[in-house]
Symmetry: C2
Subunit: 232 residues, 2 copies
């Protein structure tokens, strides 16, 4: 079992840095072989110009080798820090992660299928928000809706099974009294990472989607928003 742990925080002494060390240690204790991509420490260049480069190829190999991909980041403006978005922009290349064609139909394999099929992906996210703010009717939108472009539009798009985000709220207030709970929640999550059910996003096929790749009227008729794209 091989894991790739990708993280993005400018300060290695941050909560993100602390939980990365703990998370990698936990996976290794559980028998995982873990590779890391600490994007700030690597001085990753996030700006896509032309495709390719030895740094891109190295990250692609890490991805292909991994059964589990962990993306750990602080929530900045309700998304990934630019350095991690640019890791995706550059590494998830055409014909590697997307526009991987099915040899029979000639169609691009995507949404539940694609270049990275067979991998699980866990997002570990620290946010300054209070828990209610990122709940189902919270002002910032549910964490599933906030991370929709990543969970569904990137991970599921390329064939990976996205697990529910591991969200740590009030991250700026974590202190000596509360860190143990935060640590325990993460290690517990990682111990069970192989057994948990991924988000049941619908695969792209004619059973669920019509020719315009919108949901058939009879699929999730009562759901609105992004939840309509999950198996009930």
């Amino acid at each position: 079992m091989r894991a790739l742990w990708v993280s993005a925080h400018p300060d290695s002494h941050s909560l993100t840095g602390h939980l990365r060390t703990l998370g990698v240690h936990t996976l290794r204790s559980d028998g995982w072989q873990v590779t890391e991509s600490d994007l700030y420490a690597m001085r990753w260049d996030p700006v896509l110009h032309t495709e390719g480069g030895p740094d891109v190829e190295a990250e692609q190999r890490k991805l292909l080798d991994a059964d589990l991909v962990v993306l750990q980041f602080p929530l900045w403006w309700y998304g990934m820090p630019a350095i991690m978005k640019g890791w995706i922009d550059r590494v998830f290349e055409r014909e590697f992660a997307y526009d991987v064609l099915d040899p029979v139909t000639g169609r691009a394999r995507k949404y539940g299928d694609g270049g990275l099929v067979g991998r699980r992906a866990l997002t570990v996210v620290t946010a300054g928000d209070r828990p209610g703010s990122l709940g189902p009717r919270g002002i910032s939108g549910s964490i599933d809706d906030v991370l929709w472009p990543l969970l569904h539009g990137t991970l599921w798009y390329t064939g990976m099974s996205a697990l529910r985000p591991h969200l740590i709220t009030r991250a700026r207030d974590v202190d000596a009294d509360t860190i143990a709970d935060v640590e325990e929640a993460l290690t517990g999550r990682l111990h069970g990472v192989v057994d948990e059910q991924p988000i049941p996003y619908l695969p792209l096929n004619e059973r669920y989607y019509d020719h315009s790749i919108a949901l058939h009227p009879h699929v999730s008729p009562a759901e609105c928003g992004n939840d309509a794209h999950r198996l009930a």
Copy 2:
């Protein structure tokens, strides 16, 4: 009337580059004073380390001077290219765009209020997707849900009035036969940019949100997903 046009595309001969030239010209013909931030041409550094820097201050001045902010980008992995995400990460600083405190209540002004209140913001987005894919029940999620972290979590969060995204689908297929329609749609949109109604996101106040900053049960009771945070 002053506008700031921010764009992010590595190729100035792209559709994005062409529509930027057209858009800036259109605004100027309508009497706007337009400033540009062409992030690739500026070699903008998107990686946040410590705060500040002369490049950040220059962009902040442009924002403060603008009545209209246009963010133009190709949709990469259902979000902004990293270089533009990092323009926000670095320029939208604490006490400039967020954590701007109300002197009376001491609370942070956010969601409909904040450091950038009084400005309109228009996103101009090119996507390879077919139109159905980004419609209300399209497989990629509606464009409003896909851009939720930007429209609501960034623009509205800092006080700006977000206009409906100007979306150009099948962007890779735009050719000599279809470019005129694409151009006309954009210029028409820009001619009316002062008069159109922004997305009616709910402001953060006790009428709509409870102490956990989730919606009161009686607000948008039948709506689910992000649409619950709009005025009916």
